[in-house]
């Protein structure tokens, strides 16, 4: 681990203590801005910290541990896009606004957006899984050769929040009904827009994988701690080998997936599919741990007052965000098959 990354883990653990799960979004968001984490995706030239992308992953990992309710994942992706938006007038001003805490959100699953171009550009369609649109000023839309900011208070934009099982996140459907794109809000067109989309897609996988493995570590720690404390048959549950071995297997899965996370986070050559395969693995491990956490807690794990269900619901959501397990496994299989054809 680099010193920089170790310091980030440390700072995040202090700002978001492990015993305060699901910290309030309204208090978390200004704190995140204050910590300077919104600068993480930017190069030094663009006013950022010039750290590797493992730095952002470290923060996502720690925020995953505490089931953060703040929209850091879409925010950092949007800021990364702004950093690459050479066509955007006032690029520097936009970066300043976004890194200062003005939230620009985006969809965490692909949407069907129709682009009509005749002099001006009109957008129609629905963007699913847009986090915290109620808190955001704009949504970043990337569709068919265009990347643009859309103000959420526009006349032809409607936002509807859809209640999730996972109450640590808030996702909205954003519907564009023939929204006229302001040329001053265009980030990129053509190949440049495509490049941004591709980059963000990869970064999203990495961020989600980090969130998953932070959550999986925390859920496993919590479970092991419970087994050490809870007594039945005059001994701690942790003493039963049947339970020990299950925890050992979960730990092995988490540690191995985490090793791959940090390896890929610093691998400049990792493809989007490599990162998607990582996210598939990480989310599957998270699901495994969260599923077992409830079983190993017994009845208390089924109660709303206990935290087990929070991890399980977030794990299940993470399996879908950014593309499903099946989607990424299939793509990873195709990529490997093609690689061995050479």
């Amino acid at each position: 681990m680099t010193i920089e990354r170790a310091e980030l883990h440390d700072a995040a653990q202090k700002a978001f203590p492990a015993d305060q799960l699901k910290p309030s979004r309204e208090e978390s968001w200004p704190l995140i801005a204050e910590m300077g984490w919104l600068l993480l995706p930017l190069s030094e030239d663009a006013g950022g910290l010039g750290l590797g992308r493992d730095a952002a992953a470290a923060i996502h990992f720690e925020l995953g541990r505490v089931l953060s309710t703040a929209p850091l994942i879409p925010a950092l992706l949007a800021i990364e896009a702004l950093g690459a938006a050479e066509e955007l007038p006032d690029q520097a001003a936009w970066i300043e606004r976004a890194t200062g805490g003005e939230l620009i959100t985006l969809n965490l699953l692909p949407g069907e957006v129709d682009v009509k171009t005749s002099g001006s550009i009109w957008l129609s369609g629905t963007l699913p899984c847009v986090p915290d649109a109620d808190l955001a000023s704009h949504v970043l839309v990337i569709a068919k050769g265009i990347a643009a900011l859309v103000p959420l208070d526009s006349e032809h934009v409607s936002v509807s929040e859809r209640r999730l099982w996972d109450e640590s996140r808030r996702l909205c459907d954003v519907t564009l009904n023939g929204h006229h794109v302001d040329p001053h809000l265009v980030l990129a067109r053509g190949d440049a827009a495509h490049d941004i989309a591709n980059r963000l897609h990869g970064e999203l996988q990495l961020a989600l994988a980090a969130d998953c493995l932070g959550g999986a570590s925390a859920a496993l720690d919590m479970t092991v701690e419970y087994l050490k404390t809870r007594k039945q048959f005059d001994r701690p549950l942790a003493m039963f080998q049947a339970l020990k071995h299950r925890c050992a297997d979960l730990k092995t899965q988490v540690v191995a997936a985490e090793a791959l996370l940090w390896k890929r986070a610093t691998d400049e050559d990792a493809t989007v599919t490599d990162l998607g395969a990582l996210k598939a693995l990480a989310s599957d491990v998270y699901r495994m741990v969260a599923e077992e956490a409830i079983q190993l807690h017994g009845g208390i794990g089924l109660t709303e007052e206990h935290n087990c269900h929070l991890f399980m619901k977030r794990a299940m959501l993470n399996l879908q965000l950014g593309g499903s397990l099946d989607l990424w496994r299939e793509r990873a299989g195709r990529q490997a098959l093609a690689a061995y054809a050479e």
């Binding site: 071995h245 050992a248 299989g333 098959l337």
Partner: protein, 395 residues
Amino acid sequence: MSDDTHLEELRGQVRDWLKAHAPHGWREAYKSMSHAEFADAQRAWFRTLVEGGYAVPHWPAEWPGGGRSLAEQKVIYEEMARADTPRLLLSFVSTYHAASTFLECGTEEQKARYLPAILKGETWCQGFSEPNAGSDLAALKTRAERKGDVYVVNGQKVWSTMAQYADKCLLLARTNSEGPKQAGITFLLMDMKAKGVSVRPINQIQGDQEFCEMFLDDVEIPVSDRVGEENKGWSVAQATLSSERGLTLMELTYKMRGALSRVAEVIRRNGLEEDRGVLRDFGHLVARADSACAIADRFLQNRIDGSEGPYDASIVKNTYSRVLREYSLLGTRLGGIDEQYRAPIVYGDLTTGNWMADFMNSYAWTIAGGSEEVQRNIISERMLEMQREPKGWVL
């Protein structure tokens, strides 16, 4: 010269050397060999590596080919995995277990006598496990009684890798039955040609004969061939068993990653390239193999940094051995009925593309060298600090 430049130079040297010296087409050749011919081929490959200076990179610098840093050893094994060279099964116990026993616990005389002989091809096997002392090794019952200048040994050993070809044996025997079971064990060096030693290869389910059982009937071992003090053999055995931490697993893991090409071959051969279920299973296996490589790397880096945990090796072993099982199972499944017809095996290799044989051989890694269950105990008790069961339960 920076470390990185130095390592890249070494990588180039090893790669060039392997191009010129690695046995060509060994997989096909191994398939048509008798087991004894396989042992000869192993001896020849070991000799070549000794001559090239790559057989014992982990030995101290005063030995030819020794004195390599862990980072250098990693490069050497990565290149061997890349070149897909045969695994050194026959000489493994000699260069790792025997050598580290002598280096850490042997007398000067033992070092001078046995270490050079290893480089000349003297082969060691290990006489540790017994029919009733597997995971609970310290329960071993083979007796050694001191009579003047010799120990007289009686008992039975099992799972001794390649013992049918070994010249010498690292032997654990009981010299005291009183007190804690660990405190009555003595570490002896046994000549396999001594009177009273008989060896019987064990036929494994896939047709290999990698392991043997040994019967010891009044075998005499000179007292000078004892390592450490009498009844202090358990701590010597710890040195033996911790001799190879990381590098072997790293090499095997990378070999398995490379061998994913064999799964791709089966997919193509059976026209499954567009079967989405198959692609998903393959993609999942690739990610699992990648994570096994990542954890093997991380573990080795911990050792290089001096931040190794007492459970690191258990995590790496359980990850590798499980992924190896998944790998061989996927191949067996995708290969269809063809895999149910017997085909020649490649002795000593784990990822051969003879899927049923690979599947059966994968148990070598979930059972041998500390079973998966023993590793789970280590992970849960030492890493997760879950409470141990009270000692001294009597049934």
